[in-house]
Symmetry: C2
Subunit: 254 residues, 2 copies
DNA sequence: CGTGGCTTTGAATTACATCAAACCTTGTGG
DNA sequence: CCACAAGGTTTGATGTAATTCAAAGCCACG
């Protein structure tokens, strides 16, 4: 039952310094942003983008560095431009639950009551757009559709959280892994190779803490699915979905 | 691992008819609403309440009746005025996960993409305020603070969902039950008797499906906590928190 | 070419589930 | 008013999926 955790207790850094590099503001060119369509930014027309542009700055974050820490004041919100971010919570003895993985286009930093109840850490090399929360929220008066968009995003996240509760509470290890792989393939369909191969950008321990399992069970279950011919593991950090439809059926609990 | 379920498969009713009684519109008097302060309605000033009043109607829902069903279009949203509502999702073989219990003042019916991904069912006798979603959302243009408030509520729910993921993924049975009792006492502090006794309005099966356990484990764990003197069970549907601080410590994983 | 950090594999353990039966309640009909 | 279903709850015995403990691979990097 007790979960594993690579860092035994929450990392000592309050907020990332080392490894977090501010990029030239010139680099943040909202009008030219490749993933604008996937972010809340697309709520604004091209001619309104300047207002966003003026309050955004970009950062590069190294693997293992924190974007923010559980308990911090929610001063900033972020859009992931590239790379993978994980959100997690700890129990005092080091048990950890990862509540989500974020990919390009995802939004993070919203907090109930202005205090963040979870930490955000870069899994891979990550580039983010950072907004000072107050400045962004001030734009809501000017562009209510921005707030509507944010409500829509939060609603989607809530639905995903409910799916994850079903997974954590009621699915078997095999069903959990199958669900995870199917969702990963859906989220990363940009990076999906023609042969249905997806990168698995996070270590086994992170997958375990996301699915409420141990590293060993994740490893064994992946191995089992591979032996059964549902997937192939061309490398530790890559999966090929050989029979995605069967995998989907397993994921849904049939 | 396989969860229990009182109704083997989702109930046959599409939406509640029998057992759902429309109350006179006159009964819905927003200005006199006792729980307005706990709902999104409090975002409006007294002199603006008329606009809400004009689009609301009240219903009484009998235990076991559905407010809406997974897969329904999200036509209505609701405020719970009294009673307890549960939200849940099924797996095809009948395993069920309850994603939340709602009490007086709670809001429900928000859906990603306009399709509800969960069912809502009355646990006890329930009274709700119903809003046609389109009408309510139309008010957002007129009263942006209404939408802000809804965003705040959704953000709170998301934070609660993340707590529940931590519970489901990483807590032991005892910690789950302790967390549940502490949260219940917090939510129902209105009904909290001087001796720290709280009603336990839902059957054991519902508690099990909320915590990712079986009925038997819920029953045994409650029994164990009672034997240890942390709680007392003056009746099947009531709990007394004898040592709430110790219970809290257990809940938090110490 | 070691050395430290993942990952995999194996064996033993356990927390919780499953199966089974007895035990209330509460409502109903004789 | 009592017998007695019916549905939920508790308790007991047994089973098992997943964890825990342990150790051996496997890279990747200095």
């Amino acid at each position: 039952m007790r979960g594993s955790s690579s860092n035994p207790v929450a990392a000592p850094l309050k907020t990332a310094r080392r490894g977090t590099v501010k990029l030239g503001a010139a680099l943040a060119r909202c009008a030219a942003c490749e993933i604008r369509g996937q972010t809340f930014c697309s709520a604004l027309h091209d001619d309104e983008l300047g207002r966003l542009q003026s309050i955004v700055s970009q950062f590069r974050v190294a693997p293992g560095q924190l974007l923010f820490h559980e308990g911090d004041e929610a001063g900033n919100v972020f859009n992931v431009l590239s790379g993978v971010v994980k959100l997690y919570k700890f129990l005092p003895d080091g048990r950890r639950q990862i509540t989500g993985f974020l990919f390009a286009g995802d939004f993070l930093g919203v907090a109930a009551g202005g205090i963040l109840s979870y930490s955000a850490e870069a899994v891979s090399d990550v580039v983010v757009c950072r907004f000072v929360r107050r400045q962004l929220y001030r734009l809501f008066d000017e562009f209510p559709k921005l707030e509507s968009r944010l409500l829509g995003i939060t609603t989607d996240e809530l639905a995903a959280a409910q799916d994850q509760m079903l997974l954590l509470g009621r699915k078997t290890a095999t069903e959990k892994i199958a669900s995870f792989l199917i969702n990963l393939a859906r989220r990363m369909k940009i990076e999906l190779e023609p042969n249905n191969t997806v990168p698995l950008p996070m270590p086994r321990g992170d997958i375990a803490d996301y699915l409420g399992l141990t590293v060993e069970t994740v490893s064994r279950t992946l191995g089992k699915l591979a032996r059964e011919g549902l997937i192939a593991l061309p490398g530790v950090y890559r999966v090929t979905l050989l029979r995605p439809d069967d995998l989907q059926e397993i994921a849904e609990g049939f």
